[in-house]
């Protein structure tokens, strides 16, 4: 064969393979970016979607045009199911825009985009204590904050203008999901794991059904999840100088983000529900033994004031020592057994999420508990905090062994911090 012919055939092989790879990626859509076609047994389960949620969720939200949006970090993403029977019919379609590990600003931008699109009628924002505390490095509050790379993925800027680089960034993101070897490998994994009942996935409505947790529960036991997560939580809470505001300030970027969103929602007439995510008793005990309980209370007070300044917002608190959070995890070696309401100390299950939705929407779905959660306002906040303190005392007195274990862990971490 001549070299010329060789080059032509090489080029044909190259082009054909790149085209095939791109087609495979678009059809299988391992990250749920295109949603051209979902078919059970072929690409309905998306095991690799979790790795790109930060990139894909803004596009999915724009495409979904939901009536109701759930926003927050991984807690609502795992806990609030858009298909729950506890939603009212007018809420549908519901989209879960929760994204693991994202901060309050990103969450606020998600809501801003939903509101600016004009489709959304109400949103539910799961707020998380740790998202608001820092070791004093955060910027004091102002809006808009300095622009970052993620801002390019929103069609509007933080101050409401059209994002100049949005089209280009979208093109780059589409390219990375089509002309990409990682995407080809992820497409292959997607096809291969369709029959795996415990494979991680994200549904088209944004919900994470936590199937990978089930596998860990079955093979290693739920106790392992608690054993792994508790030290992480305590380590985070033991960082020196945790505060809600930068030094010398009384306001932060995170609170400013909430204020901005509430104001925007008021102007747009969008119904707003803020809710404080529930934690398992281990998490709450960790807050107590690391000395952060007063900070948690201050945070709730500040949120209450913020919500009360809004015309449409309500604020719910599900973060308490109650019958749902207080069940201890199964023994380390007990495989296959799991708590009904929690995956691990930081993440509640869909079953608890359903009860929260029922309570916030006041829909009489199964298991409705009128005593679960409290709606906060400036009048009842102090009484509410007092009640939580009493519940905490009662729990710690009744669960001395578990509390002692977490306290010992906190002392260990504190020693590590003092003598690295």
């Amino acid at each position: 064969m001549t070299h010329k012919r060789f080059l032509v055939r090489t080029f044909i092989a190259f082009t054909a393979l790149v085209t095939l790879g791109a087609l495979l990626n678009v059809i299988v859509d391992p990250y749920g970016l295109f949603e051209v076609w979902r078919s059970p047994g072929f690409n309905d389960v998306k095991p690799m979607a979790g790795t790109r949620v930060r990139i894909t969720k803004p596009y999915q939200l724009a495409r979904a045009k939901p009536n109701t949006v759930v926003v927050g970090n991984s807690r609502p993403e795992l806990g609030i199911d858009p298909t729950s029977e506890c939603w009212a019919s007018e809420d549908q379609p519901v989209f879960n825009a929760g994204v693991p590990g994202i901060g309050v600003y990103y969450q606020a931008r998600m809501i801003q985009t939903a509101i600016e699109s004009g489709a959304v009628k109400r949103f539910y924002w799961g707020l998380d204590f740790l998202d608001f505390v820092s070791t004093g490095q955060k910027d004091a509050g102002r809006w808009p904050p300095p622009s970052s790379v993620i801002d390019k993925r929103w069609p509007v800027t933080a101050d409401g203008r059209e994002t100049p680089d949005y089209a280009w960034q979208s093109l780059l993101d589409m390219r990375d999901a089509t002309l990409s070897l990682n995407a080809v490998l992820d497409s292959v994994v997607t096809i291969m794991q369709q029959s795996d009942a415990f494979s991680s996935t994200r549904r088209a409505d944004g919900f994470n059904p936590a199937r990978d947790y089930i596998e860990i529960v079955n093979t290693e036991g739920q106790g392992v999840l608690f054993k792994q997560k508790n030290p992480e939580i305590i380590r985070t809470l033991s960082r020196g100088g945790l505060a809600l505001y930068p030094p010398g300030e009384n306001w932060s970027q995170d609170f400013e983000s909430v204020r901005f969103v509430l104001q925007l929602a008021d102007q747009a007439g969008v119904e707003t529900t803020l809710f404080i995510n529930p934690y398992h008793a281990d998490y709450l005990t960790a807050i107590e033994v690391t000395g952060n309980w007063p900070l948690l209370e201050d945070w709730k007070r500040r949120l209450t004031i913020l919500a009360s300044a809004s015309e449409t917002a309500t604020l719910w608190d599900f973060n308490a020592f109650d019958q749902y959070s207080s069940t201890p995890p199964p023994d380390n070696l007990a495989r296959g057994k799991a708590l009904e309401w929690y995956w691990e100390p930081a993440h509640y299950r869909k079953e608890l999420g359903d009860l929260m939705v029922a309570r916030m929407r006041d829909t009489p779905c199964s298991g409705f508990d009128s005593g679960f959660g409290s709606q906060l306002d400036p009048v009842n906040i102090e009484a509410h905090l007092m009640k939580l303190r009493e519940q905490k005392t009662a729990y710690l007195e009744g669960s001395t062994e578990r509390a002692a274990m977490l306290e010992a862990l906190a002392n260990e971490v504190s020693d590590e911090v003092a003598h690295p």
Binding site: M1, T2, H3, K4, R5, F6, L7, R9, T10, F11, I12, A13, F14, A16, L17, V18, G21, R175, D176, L179, S180, L181, N182, A183, V184, I216, T219, E220, V224, K227, Q228, R335, P420
Partner: protein
């Protein structure tokens, strides 16, 4: 500009290629000037400000080279020597300022409590490479080896884009005659098909293999830098992953350089020849970054006296050469330690060969077991060296080595432990414990490492695959017993030819490499 980028592959390379051959119709000069301009554009893409530095460096060295030639003709030995010393001094001074000033200030400040500062100095890309190339040129001009070149030719020798950023460190004697060759002014489709094939293999090595395994090395070294205790398997996984990453990164870069040059009809010197197959450290250095080894040998080791002044002096020269070679790679004590380690390895290796020679038959015969042991020892020594090479500081390197020695215990992820059934008890009795998390990381680290080491140790390298078409300037001859040959028979019929099968294979790996460009990373050797 990176070889592994869309702008290089889709725009820069085709435009430079077409421009070169279009201008070549008007003669050699316009074509060569075009290549110089293209190469400067390629360099300036990263930081246009440093274009001035490389141009000034070329002008200064060209003028000094001319002066040296003139002094030689007029027999002025003192002036000639003074000019050479000045020339080398200027080159080393610039290199020292940009590369070592911060390091020097930090050490002086640490030793004397002073506050010496040079501000923030950004290391210009490729400065170590073009400085060494030009020092070699000056030394050769002093010795009368160089010819009277035009500035445009000299500039192309320094800046020719395939070798500008990270080598091979080329010699004027091997490059300039090629640039002048009239037959290179006409595009030859054979050169294009060979060049494209070599480039595609390099792109695949870099973008798919090196970048693929990098994700398993980086977190472990970051943990070590953060002072965390690293267990046995984690530490070895990280060190081996980096060993593979560096190999495929540098080997891939070298292939891409050789392939890109070949498209223009230019053969670059071989820079890489399956170094992990070496069964002794001397052979390793004959195969790893071969043009740097050649430079250090010709312009440092031999001028120091080489092996001509007795064994003790030879060992001393080896140590000095390797220490400076280590420092060339970066301004940091870990690089000095890496150089010192390899210097010590070389001294031990030479001493061992002396013992073997003296022992007569007893230690002379290379048995299969002996060769395997030699390879294993060499490989482990190299991996230990890479720990210093990669670690951010000494403490991080020590944390890694402590883990690799088993001082932090041996454990495997609980997700694997829980699935082992009765074997878990056996491991427990052996003192192997479990830890939470990182199960997927653990499995994929070792899958990647096993896969990549199999390729590095068994498969033929690019030069061997392309051997029928003389891909590089000179091949590598392995002394008997100095390299493992596990896959030699298996792959002896694997060589490139312009056939349909090879067209599909090259098209496929080019497609994989191209599709891996969505996560672009720099070549590791760019930092040197």
């Amino acid at each position: 500009m990176l070889f592994n980028s869309y702008e290089f592959i889709l725009v820069f390379l085709p435009v430079s290629f077409l421009g070169f051959y279009w201008l070549a119709r008007w003669g050699i000069e316009p074509a060569l000037v075009w290549l110089v301009i293209a190469s400067l554009f390629f360099y300036g893409w990263w930081n246009p400000a440093y274009l001035l530095l490389i141009v000034a460096s070329m002008v200064a060295n060209f003028v000094i080279g001319r002066l040296l030639s003139r002094f030689r003709q007029t027999s002025k030995p003192f002036a000639k020597r003074a000019t050479l010393v000045t020339g080398i001094g200027i080159n080393l001074g610039v290199l020292a300022y940009y590369k070592y000033a911060g390091f020097l200030a930090a050490n002086i400040n640490a030793a004397f409590g002073s506050h010496l500062a040079f501000g923030e100095i950004v290391l210009p890309l490729a400065i170590s490479f073009f400085t060494f190339q030009q020092i070699a040129y000056l030394v050769d001009a002093y010795q009368g080896i160089t010819k009277e070149y035009r500035f445009s030719h000299y500039a192309l020798f320094v800046t020719f884009f395939p070798q500008l950023i990270a080598g091979p460190i080329v010699h004027h004697g091997e490059m300039l005659p090629q640039f002048m060759r009239a037959e290179n002014l006409k595009p030859r489709v054979a050169n294009l098909s060979i060049g494209v094939s070599i480039f595609a293999i390099g792109l695949f090595k870099k973008a798919v293999l090196a970048d693929g395994v990098a994700q398993y090395a980086t977190p472990v070294f970051l943990s070590a830098a953060a002072g965390q205790e690293i267990s046995f398997f984690e530490a070895w996984g990280g060190a081996l992953a980096y060993t593979c990453q560096l190999y495929f990164d540098f080997s891939g870069y070298s292939d891409m350089a050789i392939g890109a040059a070949r498209m223009f009809g230019i053969r670059l010197p071989l820079n890489f020849h399956s170094p992990y197959k070496a069964t002794n450290i001397t052979e390793f250095w004959r195969r790893w970054h071969m043009t740097l080894s050649r430079f250090l040998r010709d312009y440092l080791y031999i001028p120091l006296g080489g092996n001509r002044r007795g064994r003790a002096r030879r060992y001393q020269n080896l140590m000095v050469t390797m220490l400076l070679g280590g420092l060339w790679h970066g301004a940091g004590w870990t690089f000095v330690a890496w150089g010192a380690l390899h210097g010590a390895y070389l001294v031990i290796n030479h001493a061992w060969h002396k013992v073997r020679k003296m022992s007569g038959r007893w230690l002379a015969g290379p048995s299969v077991v002996g060769r395997f042991a030699s390879w294993m020892l060499t490989f482990v020594a190299v991996v230990v060296g890479w720990v210093f090479f990669r670690a951010s500081d000494f403490d991080a390197a020590m944390h890694m080595l402590a883990g690799m020695s088993g001082l932090n215990g041996i454990s495997i992820p609980n997700a694997i432990y829980a699935r082992l059934g009765p074997l878990a008890d056996v491991l427990g009795n052996l003192g192997i414990t479990s830890h939470l998390g990182q199960g997927r990381q653990f499995v994929f680290t070792y899958l990647w490492v096993i896969g990549l080491l199999t390729i590095a140790l068994i498969m033929p390298n690019t030069q061997q695959i392309m051997r029928r078409y003389r891909p590089a300037l000179a091949g590598h001859r392995t002394p008997p017993g100095a390299g493992i040959t596990i896959g030699k028979r298996l792959f002896q019929r694997l060589f490139w030819r312009p056939t349909t099968l090879w067209a599909v294979a090259i098209g496929a790996i080019a497609a994989l490499g191209f599709m891996a460009l969505t996560s672009v990373s720099e070549f590791l050797y760019f930092q040197f």
